[in-house]
Symmetry: C3
Subunit: 129 residues, 3 copies
């Protein structure tokens, strides 16, 4: 059964999967992480959150969307204590990215590992257009 | 690109995210946990499951929906052995919440930690209206 | 609020949840694992990936869909080092399943445990019809 998809590929694994896949008015995003355009990852979780949302915005922009289009977030963190110990800075970076407190759902879990050892947060978003 | 969302906010983190976000006929729910209206968390995983579904129902009701609207569940548990050791009680509590065996998908993983140390299960649902 | 769902149930937990649930043109799949029709699980992560996608295909086929309908994947793995140490074989098995490099999003996290100790990967997909 054929469906019409639009995808955006970027980064070292673009051969294997897309960063964003749109079908109809739903836009799925791959989990985004705190590696910037130059391949650098800041140390702290709040700084990683900032870079992560820059990457989210980059994906959204390829589909003519912005942060207001996000409806659901899943936060995968590597250390829950570190997350809550820096929660004001993490949510501060998020608030800047959204331009205010967003109208989205959120789920938060601590996993064993993300794709690279230095990563402290990965954010998976679903957007609607 | 502007979309029309309806959200329901509740609990200590309502400034940061919504418990439910509806766009079109899709309703995303934040991962729900076993903390009741009085801030209390029962000890056992089956009792936590019961409270969790009470919270799911509360979110659904804000959108004129009920358990029959859920189409997909992800179970994040803190101890897989405890989950399977109490599976009859856990699914019993779930069956009561749904009023029977539900027509939903389910994904089950053990994570390192949920948002609070005493939590044993978090259930993230997607519903359609 | 009543919605029209179509479900496909299979396997030992079919009383509790469906392997696929369709509502409108969205098809949610339960996380699929590397247990084959005879109840056997291969040892290696690449072989488990192969069996997992056979199970994904089985679910899709019940809804008249195929791998081209998948838009989003979440990989839950039990050992990130093992995943990356076998990444060519894992993605090789995936490429065979898709018949090429797919137009899908992907999120990858290591969890503590999947539903059975011998499982190394679980793949949760969302498809659109």
């Amino acid at each position: 059964m054929s469906i019409k998809k639009k995808t955006y590929r970027s980064g070292p694994y673009q051969e294997y999967f897309a960063q964003g896949t749109q079908v109809g008015n739903v836009l799925y995003l791959s989990g985004q992480i705190g590696i910037d355009q130059d391949g650098k990852t800041p140390t702290g979780i709040a700084d990683q959150t900032k870079v992560t949302y820059m990457n989210v915005k980059d994906v959204l922009s390829q589909f003519g969307a912005d942060m207001g289009n996000i409806v659901d977030e899943t936060f995968f963190v590597s250390d829950m204590d570190e997350f809550f110990g820096n929660i004001e800075d993490v949510y501060g970076a998020r608030e800047v990215a959204y331009g205010g407190n967003p109208e989205v759902c959120q789920t938060l879990v601590q996993v064993v590992a993300l794709a690279q050892p230095e990563l402290k947060i990965e954010i998976k978003c679903i957007a609607h257009l």
